[in-house]
């Protein structure tokens, strides 16, 4: 299962689990697909469906089963799913384009007929799509549902809109040069200036900076500062991320008492 290797679910995973509607069904008209594959204890999909087309059952950790013969693709469950895991797909529209409806809980200024960059499950832009419908009803509790028209071959992949601005912001932040007085390692109170001084003394990677400054030796073990230290080294020396590396991952993953480590809990 790709989900376990990459963290991103695939259509093939869903088909393998028998949890994806057939081509035949999608060609008949809109139908919900619950891309829910982990035993999460919740059932708003079941309780929200006005047609009782979704079944979770007594044990609410069960995966939801969509009865595709009853489901008419009304999208009520799309807004109800707190995991944002339900979509409505429609390949009945035409031979060349299909429709995908998905929840969109980000601020936006989209309008119907806008052409946007459609994103797949990993967030990557895969094709363009035209917005057919934007709903934001009281019943949906402020969850916007967007319906996109995309080339029919992308209906199985498109699940959202590419977040261009966010990607842009990340790029801007990463190319920004931090002032020398900016605190980079908060645990040990090490500034960008001290990190640059360590680089001038010969540090070329994360561990080199760490030994010379203590950046990353504190309580959070570099979780906060490591990306920034990496960025500063890259800016100063032009090293590749591989050359800069990362600090050696070590037990424990987060602070744990010596009593617990020593296994004395039962005493």
């Amino acid at each position: 299962m790709k989900l376990k290797e990459t963290g991103v679910l695939t259509t093939a995973d869903l088909k393998e689990m028998g949890r994806y509607p057939s081509e035949e069904r999608m060609k008949k008209g809109p139908v919900a697909v619950a891309e829910c594959v982990q035993d999460i204890p919740c059932n708003p999909c079941e309780t929200s469906c006005p047609f009782k087309a979704i079944h979770v059952g007594e044990n609410i950790s069960n995966l939801p089963n969509v009865n595709v013969d009853v489901c008419n693709g009304c999208t009520t469950c799309v807004a109800a799913c707190s995991g944002l895991a339900i979509f409505v797909l429609d390949k009945s529209y035409s031979d060349s384009v299909g429709k995908v409806s998905f929840p969109y809980e980000y601020g936006h200024s989209f309008k119907v007929n806008d052409v946007v960059k459609a994103a797949d499950r990993s967030g990557k832009n895969v094709c363009d799509g035209k917005i057919l419908k934007i709903t934001n009803t009281q019943k949906a509790d402020k969850t916007t549902i967007i319906t996109l028209e995309v080339p029919i071959e992308w209906v199985d992949e498109v699940r959202s809109i590419y977040r261009d601005r966010q990607q842009q912001l990340v790029k801007e932040v990463l190319s920004e040069k931090l002032g020398d007085d900016v605190m980079v390692c908060r645990c040990e109170e090490i500034t960008a200036g001290e990190i640059r001084a360590a680089i001038r003394q010969g540090a070329t990677d994360i561990t080199g900076v760490k030994l010379r400054t203590r950046a990353g030796m504190g309580l959070c073990q570099g979780r906060t500062c490591e990306a920034l230290v990496n960025q500063i080294i890259r800016q100063e020396l032009g090293n590749s991320p591989e050359e800069i590396g990362f600090s050696t991952p070590r037990t424990p993953q987060r602070p744990v008492t010596f009593g617990t480590l020593g296994g004395d809990l039962d005493e």
Binding site: G202, T204, F258, G262
Partner: protein, 389 residues
């Protein structure tokens, strides 16, 4: 590159950097060649104390003592702060049997003139109030000191770089060049050749690799030690504390009964306050090749031993573990030596867990040997020729 030096040192851990410092001080032009970066392996994966009571009476303890004296001088000589502190050390005895062995052992050291107090349980708690109350006593050694090991390396280099020392980090030695008479003539690296008549192998656990380049077998094996770090907080202890069983784990010739799990992983409790207000808690000794994973089983036993001796640790957080490999040598005596079969080839390696503490003296001895001076102490026990007998 392609320059000529009086001496080329291979390996920039604490031994290599100390040799570099002491050689430049004698007026030599020195190159320090290092595959990675300064202090990147053993010298930053250890704790760092210079102790008397963890040495065998005799030359071992004498070297420890001489090193401590040298650290005091270095603190004044070197501008770079390497966090030198001298606040003594405690060794704890868990059983009457241990106390008996420790007393005899301490008396041997006292007879040699070292300042060691033999403490009863009450005196022990006066020194360290958070200790377990059922201990049988211990030893307090006045002279013991500590340093930050990797900062010591930086300090040695900082003092002489550009003033007679060139540092080549991220440079791998590929061969030691010799002439027809076996004399060293140069050091070949992946970045070019350094011409020299003298090379010092300071590669610790990797010294055998540099030995093979001249066809000698250096019997050093990597011995792993695991250490745990606490989150910074209030001072749990005022000085370095060790269980006397540490001696048992270090020297196979001291025998007494110990906790079977501690025995299995060769774990002995040590704790060391650091300048960052964290404590370093150790440690284990086992042979596992060059692997530096801190195994969870060993971590568990170390934590358990630590809580046994300092119960307050039970509720204190551990934030990291680490492990390093120490250059183990069967005789517990380092090699600080010229190899007479290969004129110009020197070895300074094999200090196991005493490399930091013995580094000042080792650097000094190597510089004296290379300068052709009378060494400040008898170096025959450290000679490579001990393997020719």
């Amino acid at each position: 590159m392609n320059k000529t030096y009086d001496v080329v040192i291979v390996g920039a851990g604490v031994i290599g950097t100390s040799c570099a410092y002491h050689l430049v001080k004698k007026g030599f032009q020195v190159a320090l060649v290092e595959k990675k970066d300064l202090a990147r392996e053993t010298s930053s994966h250890c704790d760092a104390v210079a102790l008397i009571p963890d040495k065998m009476p005799g030359i071992d303890a004498a070297m420890g003592y001489a090193s401590i004296q040298r650290f005091k001088e270095l603190e004044k000589e070197l501008d770079y702060d390497f966090e030198f502190h001298q606040n003594g050390s405690l060794h704890l005895c868990e059983t009457d049997q241990e106390m008996e062995i420790a007393t005899k052992y301490a008396n041997d050291l006292i007879a040699e003139g070292y300042a060691i107090d033999i403490l009863n349980p009450q005196e022990l708690l006066e020194k360290e109030p958070f200790l377990a109350t059922d201990l049988k006593g211990g030893l307090f050694s006045h002279e013991c000191c500590g340093v930050n090991p990797y900062k010591l390396c930086f300090a040695f280099v900082d003092a002489v770089e550009g003033k007679g020392l060139d540092v080549y980090t991220h440079t791998t030695v590929t061969d030691i060049k010799r002439d027809a008479e076996n004399n060293v003539v140069g050091v070949e690296t992946d970045k070019g050749i350094l011409k020299t008549n003298k090379v010092v192998n300071c590669c610790g656990v990797w010294a055998p690799e540099i030995g093979k380049m001249v066809g000698i077998d250096i019997p050093i094996k990597p011995r792993k030690g695991v250490i745990l770090i606490s989150g910074a907080g209030f001072p749990i202890c005022k000085q370095k504390i060790h269980e006397f069983g540490y001696m048992v784990s270090k020297f196979d010739d001291i025998q007494c009964e110990r906790d079977p799990e501690a025995e299995k992983y060769n774990v002995a409790f040590t704790i060391e306050p650091s300048a960052g207000n964290n404590v370093l808690i150790g440690s284990s000794r086992n042979f596992d090749g060059y692997d530096v994973d801190a195994e969870i089983d060993i971590i568990r036993v170390i934590a358990k031993r630590a809580v046994r001796f300092l119960p307050i640790l039970k509720d204190i957080n551990c934030i990291r573990s680490y492990a390093g490999v120490r250059p183990f040598i069967e005789e517990h005596l380092p090699l600080i030596t010229h190899v007479k079969e290969i004129p110009g080839y020197y070895i300074a390696a094999g200090h196991e867990g005493d490399g930091i503490s013995m580094s000042p003296l080792t650097g000094r001895l190597i510089s004296e040997m290379i300068a052709g001076e009378e060494p400040c102490m008898d170096v025959s026990p450290f000679s490579f020729s001990r393997y020719n007998k």
